[in-house]
């Protein structure tokens, strides 16, 4: 091999190590390197310069929830459950946030084109206190808000699939102040979804907007549903 051709290959080595060659080019280079001791040595020498690149990035603390989700998933799979063997795909954050369809939701009479509230007997359930059920709607989405004590459960139906990179975010309004209910969720495949509102104290309205993945600090779109709460 003449010097010029060898130099050409040597110029490819850095691009190869940086993953910047097209697949066909990388395969050609690998064939050359297999028979070229000089290039193998050059690769061996240069490779640490690429290996340190990930170590140069600014440190960003991963959220504790990520660790919790990962450990929850691996411990679940470690138990050798049948569920683990039935699903070989990683559960991304967006699926993890997706809540299971509500059992029997279809049987729930959601009131469309009207808003009403009523108190029902708490029956024998634990926790005490009356349960308030409020139904609301938007032109397309049907909502039911169930409040028990300070906790609320928002149940939505007739939701459309979200655009890529979007999530639903729940908000609560107290007087004129609107704050995030810290509930990000996505519709299930049947168009239903639920979200839990932890602190319903003083809430006048529960709203849901479509927000960029990761949520927003304040609503950036018009509510797709708004459920007034009785005081």
């Amino acid at each position: 091999m003449n010097e010029t051709e060898h130099d050409r290959w040597r110029d490819e080595l850095s691009a190869y190590l940086l993953g910047a060659l097209e697949p066909g080019e990388a395969a050609d280079l690998e064939r050359h390197v297999a028979g070229c001791e000089e290039c193998r040595e050059e690769l061996r020498w240069l490779r640490p310069a690429v290996q340190v690149l990930p170590e140069t990035v600014e440190s960003v603390e991963p959220p504790a929830e990520l660790r919790a989700r990962l450990l929850e998933q691996v411990r679940s799979e470690a138990k050798g459950s049948e569920a683990a063997s039935g699903s070989r795909q990683a559960t991304p954050r967006r699926q993890w946030l997706r809540l299971r369809p509500l059992a029997g939701l279809a049987a729930v009479a959601l009131i469309a084109a009207a808003v009403g509230a009523y108190a029902i007997s708490d029956g024998g359930s634990e926790g005490g206190g009356a349960t308030t059920v409020v139904s609301g709607h938007s032109p397309d989405v049907t909502a039911q808000m169930v409040r028990q004590g300070e906790t609320g459960t928002l149940r939505l139906a007739n939701l459309h699939p979200l655009p890529r990179g979007k999530v639903l975010q729940a908000w609560v309004r107290r007087g004129t102040r609107v704050v995030s209910a810290k509930a990000l969720f996505e519709p299930n495949s049947d168009g239903t979804a639920t979200a839990t509102i932890d602190n319903m104290d003083g809430v006048n309205t529960v709203m849901v907007t479509t927000e960029p993945r990761g949520g927003s600090t304040q609503p950036t779109s018009a509510p797709i549903v708004s459920v007034p709460m009785p005081n």
């Binding site: 110029d11 290996q51 990930p54 170590e55 960003v60 691996v74």
Partner: protein
Amino acid sequence: MKIRTGKAERLADEELMPRIGEKDPDAFEVFYDRHGGVAYSLAYRIVGERGAAEDVVQEAFISIWRSGARYDRARGSVRSWMLGIVRNRAIDFLRSKAGRAPKLDFDDDAILEHRPAEERTDAEALRRETAHELRGALGELPGDQSKVIELAYFGGFSHSEIAAMLGVPLGTVKGRMRLGLEKIRGELAEGLA
């Protein structure tokens, strides 16, 4: 055989991987606690969104959890293997988001390139360099060299894409990559040369 987290903490990465291959969650927990930070930092550096970085790291670590038994300690350090997986997924996310065809696949075994034992020693020694010093080595590069390196490694662009982006000949891009990497390599501990 299941081991407790306390014992797992005393194991080297290469010793943890067989445990992970045996589906030991305590070994995985130790592994994540050691490398989750740099993995997330790398993913965030590439994708630029916290939510997407979480997805990338979660998918990468679940892949490792499920393929831990396939790790071959004779073929590279665990940390480099792990970071390669994270980068692959992050770059794929970027390319998908930009409507570019994925250039990389998820063949994590491909990251386990054959390398001689002395090279692994190099890699382990490099980890002892502080991140600050390493950033310094990258920061000292001429801007045109650091730019092509960052576009390739953190942006997932091919050399031809970079050439078109910067409006310079392909050979210029390759030359800048080579000069930049050679300079970084030269800045690393002399004992590794």
